[in-house]
């Protein structure tokens, strides 16, 4: 187990964490501002990935594909918000769960109907493929570094948007007190549509970026959605800062645990047992992390009251 391996895995964990942040940021914004739990957020991730794969297939341009993922997910988000989601804001959580679960069924089967059941592939463009050499002689894929960079830039942009702009002021006011911003003359339903579309666009971007590493297929958004929930539970619902910290924690824990736990067990057990037990435990690690956070702080690291 070398230093270089550890560093490589830390970078992998960061890349995973940054992706999770893009997912979790939208979820936590939508919950913080509108009080809505959206299970269909993973579908928007999938929409972004499919849009990117389709556009990349037609034009061959990765940049256009990314733009398409943002646009398609934002459009799908806005459409869903206007037709369905806005009827759910004053419903209880059960109705929100059911309606957004129904949306998943519609999105998933609709996508399967349009694109078929076989996975699509989105290629990493030539200018981003291949390894780069980092300090200490680490060879690391350029594309993954690019994902980390894009994620960090988008994250910084999001913090800037919320801290410094008009719409950010409205979002923060909306988190504090919904009646208040209506009283201030903000067009609340427009604000909600914009926030929802923004969250959707972030999810779509994440889907497209990951789509180039993995395959693009129906149902790809759901495991990520649940991880994003874990991130939010750890970070605290409604907190963007919590989403960032939670995402990095989950990303690093999952990646490092997956690599090092089996090796750790190998020191004590037979190789076959160690691999099996290590893999099983590694898959549970982030949930154990979540349980531990819950025991200490039931409303998450940066959450207010639950």
């Amino acid at each position: 187990m070398s230093f270089i391996l550890i560093l490589e895995q830390v970078l992998n964990g960061l890349q995973f964490g940054v992706m999770l942040f893009l997912m979790a940021a939208g979820l936590t914004l939508v919950f913080g501002v509108m009080g809505l739990i959206n299970l269909a957020h993973g579908s928007l991730y999938m929409v972004g990935a499919f849009a990117a794969a389709a556009v990349a297939g037609l034009t061959g341009s990765f940049l256009l594909a990314l733009i398409a993922s943002l646009a398609a997910a934002a459009a799908a988000g806005a459409l869903v918000e206007v037709t369905v989601i806005r009827r759910l804001y004053d419903r209880d959580h059960l109705d929100q769960v059911l309606a957004t679960f129904a949306l998943i069924l519609i999105f998933s089967e609709g996508t399967r109907w349009l694109f078929g059941s076989f996975p699509l592939f989105l290629d990493v463009p030539a200018y981003l493929s291949g390894p780069v050499t980092l300090p200490f002689g680490i060879q690391y894929p350029l594309y993954r570094l690019a994902i980390i960079a894009i994620g960090l830039v988008v994250g910084a942009g999001l913090f800037w948007l919320i801290a410094r702009t008009r719409i950010g002021v409205q979002i923060r006011a909306g988190e504090a007190d919904r009646e208040m911003i209506a009283a201030l003359g903000v067009d609340i339903s427009k604000l909600y549509t914009v926030v929802f579309a923004l969250g959707a666009a972030l999810a779509g971007l994440a889907g497209a970026l990951v789509g180039a590493i993995q395959s693009v297929q129906v149902g790809m958004g759901e495991p990520v959605l649940i991880l994003a929930f874990v991130v939010i539970v750890i970070g605290g619902i409604g907190s963007i800062k919590g989403a960032l910290v939670g995402a990095l924690l989950v990303g690093l824990t999952d990646t490092l645990g997956g690599v090092f736990l089996p090796r750790l067990f190998a020191l004590m057990l037979e190789p076959a047992d160690a691999a099996s037990l290590g893999a099983s435990l590694a898959s549970m690690l982030i949930y154990i992390l979540m349980a531990a956070v819950l025991l200490v702080r039931p409303s998450g690291l940066f959450g207010g009251s639950a």
């Binding site: 919950f31 739990i37 369905v84 009827r87 419903r91 959580h93 059960l94 109705d95 769960v97 059911l98 309606a99 679960f101 129904a102 949306l103 998943i104 069924l105 519609i106 998933s108 089967e109 609709g110 399967r112 109907w113 759901e222 495991p223 649940i226 929930f229 874990v230 939010i232 539970v233 619902i237 099996s276 893999a279 099983s280 590694a282 898959s283 549970m284 949930y287 979540m290 349980a291 819950l294 025991l295 039931p298 409303s299 998450g300 639950a306």
Partner: protein, 326 residues
């Protein structure tokens, strides 16, 4: 309430009559479908105790369904391989006897419910939903990576397990087993809803403050409800695995959680026989729409969406009117 009771009796009779008719007409496939309805309804009856009576929106009940399924798979596979599960601290052999398998399924899923409930009930609202979902997913991944019991491919059992005095390989007899368990569970949940515990639990759903003020702890009530609810769904899992003679991580997937919830909701939350109606409608839709289109779940999604947005009473709400409550 008279009309609802009549409707409930009619539903139960219909579930009994359809397979009997199919038996006469020698249509074993229909008997199997009816068995599936009974088992899935049982899973819903379990969830309904937490969801309908206690107001606990658990998106993690597939965990218990799967634990029950794996209890069956583990015991039966050890029995067919003649290997004990473990020999220390005591000898624990596999088994192909349903009563023992059920007991194991119930105990295992009750323990699971105790741990998951104790952690997730520290929170409420969306946190609770996300956390139950997360723990369910944890077990799902655990099952996928636990290669000793089939991992991602699941675990097949060659012969259906045995019930003393019955031939479970005969579809109608196995249906009778599932139907009997369902009736017992329905009877039990009806008693529970009217009991002291049911009153307090239902009050905790309506006003947590009220229950605390009379000196009862909502956390304890909900935890007990969760530990009662989980094993019923777990028992359904053991039966479901026996029906298919197969258990796989899919039983633990969160889609399964969503489906169990749909059974409860389609029939109407908090209605005793809601899960029965919901499961029956679900299976009917699966077979009617599934025959028309491969993508039948789009229609299921639209139906569910329409129901949540426009018809909140569920399907029983239409024939018997609203206001059933708990």
């Amino acid at each position: 309430m008279g009309r609802e009771r009549l409707f409930n009796a009619a539903m139960l009779l219909a579930l009994l009559a359809v397979p009997l008719l199919a038996w006469g007409l020698q249509e074993p496939f229909i008997i199997t479908l009816a068995t599936k309805v009974a088992i899935l309804a049982l899973a819903g009856v379990g969830l309904n105790i937490a969801l309908g009576l206690g107001g606990l929106v658990s998106l993690g009940h597939a965990a218990f369904f799967g634990i029950g399924g794996y209890a069956m798979g583990t015991l039966a596979s050890h029995a067919q391989n003649y290997e004990p599960l473990f020999s220390w601290p005591f000898l624990f052999e596999g088994s192909n006897q349903m009563p023992l398998i059920w007991l194991t399924a119930v105990l295992a899923s009750a323990s699971g419910a105790l741990v998951i409930g104790a952690l997730s009930l520290r929170t409420s609202g969306v946190y609770f939903i996300m956390i139950t979902l997360a723990f369910c997913q944890m077990l799902y991944y655990f099952a996928i990576s636990w290669s000793a019991y089939g991992g991602e491919d699941g675990l097949s059992i060659w012969v259906r397990n045995e019930m003393p005095g019955l031939n479970t390989l005969d579809p109608i007899q196995f249906f009778a087993v599932a139907f009997g368990v369902l009736c017992l569970a329905l009877w039990f949940s009806a008693r529970l809803a009217r009991s002291a515990f049911g009153l307090a639990l239902s009050a905790a759903r309506q006003s947590e403050e009220r229950v605390e003020t009379v000196g009862l702890a909502p956390f304890k009530l909900r935890l007990v409800a969760f530990v009662i609810s989980g094993p019923i769904t777990g028992l359904a899992g053991a039966l479901f695995a026996d029906l298919n003679r197969f258990v796989s991580p899919t039983m633990l997937s969160w889609h399964t959680s969503g489906e169990i919830m749909i059974f409860v909701i389609l029939g109407g939350v908090g209605r005793l026989y809601g899960p029965l109606v919901g499961a029956a409608v679900y299976i009917l839709l699966e077979h009617l729409l599934g025959g028309i289109s491969e993508y039948w779940q789009i229609f299921l999604g639209l139906l569910l969406l329409g129901m949540v947005l426009f018809a909140r009473g569920g399907l029983i709400g239409a024939p018997v009117g609203s206001g059933g409550g708990a």
